[in-house]
Amino acid sequence: MPADIFAKRRNDRLLFFGALAALTAGSIFITNYDPVAGFTSIGKAFVWGASNFYPNARALTKLPDIALKLRDTILMSVAATTVAAIFALMLAMVGSRTTRINAVFGAIARAIASVLRNIPLVAWAMILMLAFSQSQLTGFLALFFGSLGFLTRAFIETIDEVSIHAVEALQATGASHTSIILQAVLPSSLPQMISWLLFMIDTNIRDATLVGLLTGTGVGFSFDVYYKSFHFHEASLVVLMIVITIICIEMMSNYIRRIIL
């Protein structure tokens, strides 16, 4: 009966939006989120931003300082990503169904990657800070562990998706495990892996701001200092420079992706 279909559809929709409304009300209640303040603060923030949050002449004198910190942050993020990529490649070789030595090692590699990835960056930063104190090294290590987990999963997926046919072809010829990896797996999955690597650099520069805030280094710390001392013009310059950096890196990544993929 067609009438029933429409009734069922309406009921489903009612149930869905009802559940959504209940969850929203519950979330607002337990988090102390203030819907009115939340709504009005957006408008207020833009009015405030237009009158206070732009770089002025005094802020521009701080430009060299900020640029130096930004350079530190970029270098740290790139280094963390590259080093993580090298280790992730090894873990992925062990964890991938296509290249693994045996199922037990494969499962272990995946479990390590999953734990590393799902411990949030803040937790890494806080845990490492206890022993490594507030330094760039702490930030580097925090980004490294997070990236290692993420890249391992991405690389495993890439290897399994991209190289399966090439591997089967080589297995048929009786090629050894090493030559299969060197001649089939790596060449066929390299472009995709580089794409992930670029994505990770982009993400890490943004996350490095946060890590810098916690570990007192880099451009995140610059922002924090200006922000907490109400030097909003300087803080806005920091934000602007981060935005320009991220957009430049994104454009470069897209250009490279267009060529290699």
Partner: protein, 290 residues
């Protein structure tokens, strides 16, 4: 067989003695793609070596710090628990974090639905989609924590600023995902509706949204998973409530490693559950597209 082998190999060196008797195969040309890959990898390598050489280690003894961290991790993972925080209280704090993530995702999804429609090339004129794309790229380029701190100036540090800041980032992510899902819709469907005299809203609500609802839900859940991690951060760095704040207090002020352990385990458990569901959702998107 030799041909197959040679196609697989990355080098142009003859494979085995079998090939040596045949005339030498022509060297493979150095494509633009290879040049770019090699250039990129060498730039990254040089940058990394330079960065590592100049990394400020704060003057700590590295071996000592590494062994301390291992000892800390042992306490964290083998003896979780804590005097300040009972298991149930910690669980409640995780639920608060989930609540923050839920609100940001919901608001983000709602706004992104409209921006996504305006950003889809088959539904909106080119100038409009360009404006939307530029806006989204700008919002995305500012780190979430900075959005939150900027909104905290007017809304005060806490849950409200955290949710609004995270909403901004969710909007930029979801707008991109949604408009791409809308663009996948078959042109003929829209044309058929247009020919029958349907207006823009009717096309959107009768064809576009119903037929892409599976994608929309999957993308939204993926964002929810990310927002959970973001919400933990907001607790630690922006004074929002939830498990992130407890983590910040336990490790930054009480130095209570066992409590850090309890919190880490809980976050890990929830993150892995969310990730498992998210992977299933992602596979659904992939299967449908294949």
């Amino acid at each position: 067989m030799t041909n197959a082998l040679d196609t697989m190999s990355g080098t142009d060196r003859p494979v085995g003695s079998m090939v040596a008797s045949v005339s030498r195969l022509p060297a493979r040309p150095l494509t633009k793609e290879k040049v770019v890959i090699r250039l990129l990898l060498s730039v990254l390598a040089v940058t990394t070596v330079y960065a590592l050489a100049h990394l400020d280690d704060g003057g700590v003894n590295l071996l000592q710090a590494a062994s301390d961290t291992l000892a800390n991790l042992k306490i964290i993972f083998l003896h979780p628990g804590g005097p300040h925080l009972s298991f149930l209280k910690a669980l409640y704090e995780v639920v608060i974090t989930l609540g923050l993530a839920f609100l940001a995702t919901l608001f983000g999804a709602f706004i992104a639905l409209f921006l996504g429609l305006l950003g889809a090339q088959n539904l909106a004129p080119k100038p409009v989609t360009n404006v939307i794309k530029a806006f989204v790229a700008f919002v995305r380029a500012v780190p979430t924590i900075l959005w939150v701190l900027i909104f905290a100036v007017t809304a005060g540090l806490g849950a409200t600023a955290a949710v609004i800041g995270m909403t901004f980032h969710s909007v930029s992510y979801l707008t991109k995902a949604y408009s791409e899902s809308f663009e996948d819709l078959d042109r003929s469907v829209i044309e058929a509706l247009k020919a029958s005299g349907a207006n823009w809203w009717q096309i959107v609500f009768q064809a576009v949204i119903p037929s892409s609802s599976t994608y929309l839900l999957s993308w939204t859940f993926l964002r929810f998973e990310m927002n959970f991690a973001n919400a933990v951060v907001m607790g630690a760095a922006a004074g929002a409530s939830g498990v992130g704040f407890d983590l910040y207090m336990a490790s930054g002020y009480y130095f209570d490693l066992r409590e850090v352990g309890l919190i880490t385990y809980l976050i890990l458990a929830f993150a892995i559950i969310l990730e498992t569901i998210a992977i299933r959702m992602k596979n659904r998107i992939k299967d449908d597209q294949a």
